[in-house]
Structure formats: structure tokens, C-alpha cells
Amino acid sequence: MSSTQIWIAALGTLALFSFLYKENPVYRAVEHAFIGLSAAHVVIMNIDNYIRPIWRDEIAKGSYSLVIPFLLGLLVYTRYSKGISWVARIPISMTVGYGVGYVLSYEPLPFLRQVTDNFIKFSGKTTGATINNILFFVLSMSAVLYFFFTISRDKYLPMQWLGTLGRFTIVMALGASYGNTVQGRISLLLGRLQFLLKDWLSDTLHILKF
């Protein structure tokens, strides 16, 4: 990165970190600039990587049928006109239709593999593996049974026990998820701190001729 880029990134980072002390206009300004730049970047990347090559290499060379989906996509913008906003439903409904078709055709397989993975042999190569397999089965079934409301837990005590065990299992999983989230957020902060202390600081010292 050039010195200018490093300084812009560093000042932007510090401006956003200033929110940790107190809400302030500098933070707001940088936040809005970031949102605007992100949106602009997405638009430009899509135009440069997809729309421009399609027009240049496909439509301009004779694949005129590709103009039809392009025009259908543009119809989404009719939602801004009160009189013809209903037209925007056409491309949206096509997108939804594709989405439903995709989910029905592609999503069951990975999910079913998860289900079949639960059909395990309890006995493992070691005692630890055997205990692990039994625990896995009992805890995963109890977590599923926690959401089974057809049988009354007041009338059938085993359902109550399994439901409680299922709740503990889910809470343990949420705890593991929380721990990983903490780790993830610390990692992101470390990345920024490393940039500030390594790249920015060394560039500053270089400018000050140390």
C-alpha cells in the first residue's frame, strides 16, 4: 500500500474506533463514507466483471437473446413508479421461482447426509470413542426431541427429562458458538491493531525520518 492509502485507512480506522468512547460526528461521517464506498464498489465490480463482458463479448457478437434477461432485470426499477410498480413483481417472481427450485433440488442432499450421519454404531475402536458415539447419539436426539411438542411433558416424565437434557445440549452449543464469536471478534480487532502498529507506525516513523 502507498503512504497515502495507509494514512487514509489508519485515520478511518481510528475514526471508527472513536465510537467506543462516545458517539461523535467524525465516526458518523466515516461510517457513511464507508457505506457509500462499499455500495459503489459492489456496483462497479458487477458492471466490470459481468455486465460489461456480457455486452462486449456476448451480445455485441450476436447473442441477442441475452438482452431479454437484461431487460427483465431492469424492470425491477419500475417499483419507483406508482403506476407501473406491479411490473417489478415479474423479475422478482422469476428469482423467487429459481430459488425455490434450487432449494428443492440441491438442498436436501447435504441435509440428508447429516441425518444419515446420525445412524452410527455405538461401539468404537477405543472406550473413549464408544462413549463419544453414545453421547453424540443421546445428545443429538434429545436436542431434536426438545422441539417435539406433541407429547405432553407433564404427563410423560421421560419426555421432561429428555427435553431438559436437550435444552442443556442446545445451551452448551450456544456457549461454544459464543466462545467462537469472541475469538472471531478478537481476531478482527487484532488484524486492525497489527495494521495500525506495524504498517501505519512504520510509515509514520519513516516520514519522520526515524
Partner: protein, 273 residues
Amino acid sequence: MWEKLQTLDRRVIYLFFVIALMIPLFKPMGLPIPIGEESQRFYDAFDKLAPGSVVLMSADYSPGSSAECNPQFEAVIKHAFRNNYKVMVFALWEQGAMLARDIAEQVSKSMNKTHGVDWIFLGYRPGGNIKIREMSNDLWGALLNIDGYDRPLNESPMMANIKKLYPPDIDAIVCFSSGSPGDGDYMAVVTDPSGIPLFTGQVAVQVPARVPLIRSGQLAGMIPGMGGAAEYENLTGFPGKAAGLMDAQSLAHIVILGFIVLGNIAFLAARKT
């Protein structure tokens, strides 16, 4: 005192936190980095691929997750180049393409790998699972016959025999993911139906959701977060950024644990009084 502790200004906690993170950055403590099961499994399975294997490395993350995913990407691409795999760098996220390209260019230069022969940058293409499906049927058509540098694919010798994102044209997929589209889409469209291995580098937040997929064999391996990247750097023998940050990570976790314990003690003590 206990009530004051419970209502402690969060800015005090931030200050302790930042100090705890900054000290190891200036003065490393050299804490050991034990290798986790997931990273070891990823390394062993990835290393088993034959030389010349075609591997798609998909950088499906944003700059917000780059602190975790960039070290993972760098460690894996170094491993791939060392083993002489043919690497295709691709992204389903806009910024992911730029982040991956910068790393791939830097690493390929340092390891004397030639673009178009040993690796190729395919760039970013929108469409998520639609694009993956299109690529699994006709890779060149889905990429509009150009690579990420806007050069024709027929100028790259390594692409001559790679016409589909499906076996036997490709041998493995590595997806660095911080959300959707990501590894779930590759799994549903390519790797689960075909049986080729899917490796993944995940942000720490998504790790618990991916563990069942490793167990079922749907994921051949996973690098979990920045810690996993540090472990992978140790396994491959290529030092990187992640290993140097683990001291700070460990200290930060200790600080958080300390505050949680203190908060609970304050809560219980306040209840008693």
C-alpha cells in the same frame, strides 16, 4: 463495591482489553501453538492430493473477515504451490477477489509460479449458487471465456483441460467463507453430488456450525479462524501473520475470562449483601 463492579463503565473494559492486546504485539511471549484436530485433518487430506491436482480456491469473504481469512488463504496457497497443484483463484464475493488476487500474486512471485501455467486468477463473478451450477456444466462459458485480468482463457495453458467445475476436470475445492454464498453452495452443487473433497477456511463465528459437516465427511477439512491459520502455518513450515498474533489472542481471552469471573463474583456477592 460489588454494585459498582457490575455497573463498570465499558470503556474501562475496552482499555484493559486494548492494553492486553498491544503488549504481546510489541513484546511477543512465545506461547506454544498446539495443532488442533481440524487443522491437522485439513493438512493431511490436502497433502494427499496428487501433484498436478487442479484445486479451486474460492475467496468468499469481505475485508471485514480478512484478518482471519487472509492468513488462511496465504497458508493454503503456499501449501498448494509447494505440492505443485494447479490453483484456480476465484471469488463469489466482490472484495474477496481483490484480497485473494493480491495474496496470490505475492506468493506466486516468491515461489516462482507462473500465471496461466501454475495458477490462474479467475476473478469475481456474481450469481452465487447459480454461477457455481453454471461453472459445473460449462466453466469457460460461465467465466465468459476470460480470466480475472480480462485475458482470454485460451491464452492460459493450464486451462486447456479444465472445461467444467466437476470431476475429472477438478480434484478439490477450497472455500474460504464468511457467509453466503460460500462453502454450502459448493457442497450442494459440486462436492456432495460428485464426491470430490471440499476443504474450508472459516471465520471463527461459523466454526460450530461446520463441525457436524466434518463429522459426516461432507467437509474434508477445516481451518477454524485465525487460530487455525496459525496452526496451519506451523504445519506447512511457512511462517505468517497469524502465528505472531496468537499471544495477543490468548491474552485477550484471559482478560475476558477474568472480567466474566469478576462480574459473576460481583453479582453473587451483591445478591448476598
